[in-house]
Amino acid sequence: MKLVKNAAVAEDGWTTVADDENLPEGGAVIVSLARFKAERDTLVGRNAPLGLRLKSNEPPATVAEDLERFSVIALEFPIFRDGRAYSHATQLRQRFGFEGEIRAVGDVLWDQLLNMIRCGIDAFEVDDDFPLDAFDEAPKLFSNYYQPAAVGGPSIFEKRHGA
């Protein structure tokens, strides 16, 4: 697997720790919601950056009061057709003002990248042979959009009137 940010392979300083795995001494880890809930105090007290991985049926609202503790939130796409994480990413950016990294994990494919970006996802965990061209192409496919982006920017409705 590789991590892609800004259309380039990025160093991944994060370790995703399985629920039955011991936490490493120090170091940035991403844990599941179940583990976070079970070991909240230990995880929060740990002197290292913390990330959260949400399944597609785990809305960010369930951890609303803790969101500021996370530097990375990984949203799972168990299959590319499961579109719940698009709503979750949008809510993270718009409703909760989350400014950390939102990472798409799971069934992340070429033709869904644009929607992910527009919903506020800015990091992508993909297979090693995933073509980087796809990341170059996605933001260039359309010049303008009818909807406001999750991360700001006027819609066509607004641009028509000088926005």
Binding site: G83, C119, Y146, P148, R160
Partner: protein, 551 residues
Amino acid sequence: MYRYDEFDQAAVNERVAQFRGQVARRLQGQITEDQFKPLRLMNGLYLQLHAYMLRVAIPYGTLSARQMHMLAHVARKYDKGYGHFTTRQNIQYNWPRLVDTPDILADLATVEMHGIQTSGNCIRNVTSDPFAGVAKDEIEDPRPWCEIFRQWSTFHPEFSYLPRKFKIAVTAAEHDRAAIKLHDIGIRVVKNAEGETGFEFWVGGGMGRTPIIAKKLKDFVAKADLLDYATACLRVYNELGRRDNIYKARIKILIHEMGLAKYAELVEAEFQRIRGTVALPDAEIARIQAYFAPPAYESLPATSTAFEAKKFEDRGFRDFVRTNLHPHKVPGYAIVSISLKAPGVAPGDISADQMDLVADLAETYSLGELRATHEQNLVLPNVKLDDVYTVWQQLRDAGLGTANIGLLSDIICCPGLDYCDLANARSIPLAKEIQDRFADLERQHKVGELKIKMSGCINACGHHHVGHIGVLGVDKHGKELYQLQLGGSATEDASLGDLTGAGFPPEKLVDAVETVIETYLRLRTGEAEAFLDCYRRVGMAPFKAALYEAR
């Protein structure tokens, strides 16, 4: 009607380029069919029994003469010279080749048309009243709001992978010609006590294997809130709609399972949180409304002597006027319906030559405009009474003069097993048999208003649940069987039909339909009591008795 500006045109052009790239990657094997499927579906491309099928959007059923000429061109160049108007105000081509589809979409883009979101688990092409803008009974033209929905829903990043498809219909008339209560969201344009325009939201209607009539979600959504409120409705559905079973994934099931009150509460909470997020500037509403300003109508007397004289002289014309004309809001004009239910022709089918003729008639006699209806007919919305006779003559000579709008031979019918991958039974040949049995127009008039709707499987593309008489083809142990339903309606008095009982084999179906009709004629209080009213008064028992006791 609406015209694209540079933003709209760029969006469809860029979409064609994107799809061309996707098709190329598919043909090179870089994406699997499973991965390609939702991409092609969101451009209207299905894989059917014999070939691909391309569904082209006719947003809210409005199209120009120029667009209709392009539809004829596509039928000739890329298909077998005909097209099929559907129950969703779209047109389908049954024989395109995959490699040609980017070119077809490129051709369509030159006349501001596309196949965007005519399929897939996204917000589908928005539908509306085919008489919008010309109907006497509407409070304002609903199409600007439809166009706003079209744009807002196009390539929506959050709502392109919903649990299931999502259909929105809008009406602004007293009489619901858009079947809004059979849609995921149905919207009625209303005015509040202050005279301000707003929207009544209905939610969770639909047909398919679990038919449900929509429930009222909110009495009044203000104009400025329209897209925020719609966003809230969709977001709650996207998060909570079932994804474990595609047959339970529509919003109607979510609402059925969680209850309307709970859904409404979640939507309201989300709406209050996001209010003001999806800007819809007043200037933008005004800009879009300006495109729908009434065309330059002439000042004419309310009646036309020439029209009346021709009605008196020509019986064929008189028949046509009796069924195919509806009152126009402007004196001296009529709304002329073109039936695509000619005997021997699959309901909704039209040849390329006929399309060109209809486009020419629209150009010359209907201020350039046409409509497609969810009952699979076409409409010339702006014909001067003085011109109706000429229009009728030309339609008749082209095989388009069928005088049966609203009568029992004006059957809604899905493509069925003759084309469709999902179908269990044929529908087109059975519709034809019913039409043949009741070929006598006087007999049809004697029966009066009667909507027969036929589907070749439980997905209900032929709207059988809301037919006055609904016919559902099923497969029972490898044999086609046809179930009858009575008493459905898709209008403001929406109701679902009741099953009569055991189904009928194909060779007995037409007899059964005839038995139902004869029973109605026997029971009705008089000609003024239409089939639906009679059924609602007497109930199923006498029909059931007539259908089954003699067997």
